[in-house]
Amino acid sequence: MTDAIKAEGLVKNFGKTAALAGADLAAPAGTVLGLLGPNGAGKTTAVRILTTLLLPDGGHATVGGYDVVRDAHQVRQLIGLTGQYASVDDGLSGTNNLIMIGRLLGLSRSAARARSAELLARFDLADAAARPVKTYSGGMRRRIDLAASLVGRPQVLFLDEPTTGLDPQARSDVWEMIRLLVADGVTVLLTTQYLDEADQLADDIVVIDHGRVIATGTPDELKAKVGGQVLEILPADLSRMGDVAAIVAGWTGVEPAVATGGRELMAQVPSAAILPGIVRQLDENGIELSEFSLRKSSLDEVFLTLTGHRADDMEKAEV
């Protein structure tokens, strides 16, 4: 399979800050690549370079086989872009926004009108079609942005934080629409700060932090990389927490973390094979458990392990 998006050693500096410090990306045609990282990691800069809005200071990139610098005009014929910065005109109605883009892409007046109506219906905006976009809710706004990027039937779609700031219902609506596009064979590059979003949508994930790629892989590979699975133990008698921790540490070799206000114990386990041993030893020591569970590491933990800080912390720092 050929790569619809390929970037090698992308560098971009803004003054003394390095927004990208040699990033490599690749998305095979028809797949979803999730670009995951906290605010300021360089995600948007990467998207802006790949969509020809920004020239890289170093490295090179191709989209659909065309160089984003040398063949920018060809690249623009293949892509669609949705992001906080590539916006629609909120003074115009939904219909007129889409007609305008259709006309700019060379559609005839009637074809542009038909395409506009088709997309508005598909994105559940037909009722609001004649209203100025500034009267739209946040979710409707994202949907019209998404529709605007699809007028030209792009082969490669860039979605820069498509659900940031949306409520859960609106988010899952947008996710559903992205899944439909992927089913049509569109290659998608999706940036997000939401780990569950990347987990839900992406075939491959690239984690970036401070302009560098710090990990790549499928969501499952990334989770496995960090120690596979997490054991959670809730002793019935909280005074025995110390004993539980000592027993678990004996099996995993690492002092487990205590969470949920000192009531729950969490430990990365390399393999489920050690569980019977832990259970037996707890039982031998007369420790009763109110909860004992094993789950896959979440991407949150992946992120923490890879970057040394939680994704949430960054979001909070931003506010």
Partner: protein, 269 residues
């Protein structure tokens, strides 16, 4: 990705100039549509010349033209025409700035259209705003008692002269729109730059009573030339040199500021 794909034979290598022109016309349509749907802008555009006409005619008129407001109206209307359209050019920079901050230009730049089309479309669309300004100023002036003393063709010529000048001035506005970060900044900066140009000129009063240094500035001010040409065309008097010189100014402004604005546009977006 079947029958309706836009580029069935693979993406085109180049953009023809004709496509660029068509892109510009589509974006002109957008600008005009925005003017039509933005009733606030339309109202402001109409009220401003009405306010200036009323204020200048009735506040200053009596004091300036020996007590005759109607005589002053004849004198000041061509000046206010120039001033109104000049102020209207600020809207060009303002809209460009808003489009850039809102990310609309980024959307345009991600599309396979001519790089200059968004700029050209915005400016061509703004001609509509200038024409509205001219019609309101002239129409309301006539209600107040202004009369064209030459002939309708000369009066239309005056309007065209003003519009041609506005088409040059709007590039300065476009440049400000690119260089200043916020729409508010464009407004503040633009008006601060406009006021001395408007007032230190022969737009509103004859320049003879100004101190020598100011007279020198006012004489060289292209607004003075443009207003004098319009007066000549609308109420009679010399036209030739004034019209000619003001158009040389317009051309000069265009030659200097259009490339600067285009360069700033490339950088900013």
């Amino acid at each position: 990705m079947t029958a309706a794909t836009l580029t069935p034979t693979g993406p085109a290598r180049r953009l023809s100039p004709l496509t660029g022109l068509r892109n510009s016309l589509t974006l002109t349509w957008r600008s005009v549509l925005k003017i039509r749907t933005n009733s606030e802008d339309l109202l402001g555009l109409s009220l401003q010349p009405i306010m200036f006409l009323l204020l200048f005619t009735y506040v200053f008129g009596g004091a300036i033209e020996g007590g005759s407001t109607s005589k002053y109206l004849q004198y000041v209307l061509p000046g206010i025409l120039v001033q109104t359209v000049l102020f209207a050019t600020l809207g060009t920079g303002l809209m460009l700035n808003q489009d850039i901050s809102a990310g609309i230009f980024d959307r345009f730049r991600s599309l396979p259209i001519a790089r200059w089309a968004p700029l050209a479309g915005a400016i061509m669309g703004d001609v509509t705003r200038y024409v509205i300004s001219v019609i309101v100023t002239l129409g309301f002036g006539m209600i107040l008692g202004f009369r064209v003393k030459t002939n309708p063709f000369a009066a239309v010529g005056a309007c065209l002269l003003v519009l041609a000048f506005a088409l040059a001035m709007c590039w300065i506005s476009a440049l400000i729109g690119m260089l200043v970060k916020t729409p508010q900044g464009v407004q503040t900066f633009g008006f601060t730059a406009m006021f001395p140009i408007v007032f230190a000129s022969g737009l509103l009063v004859p320049i003879q009573t100004m101190p020598g240094w100011l007279q020198a500035f006012a004489k060289a001010n292209p607004m003075t030339l443009l207003a004098a040409a319009c007066r000549g065309l609308m109420i009679g008097g010399p036209v030739g040199t004034y019209a000619w010189e003001s158009m040389v100014w317009a051309l000069g402004i265009l030659v200097v500021f259009a490339p600067l604005a285009v360069r700033a546009y490339r950088r900013r977006t």
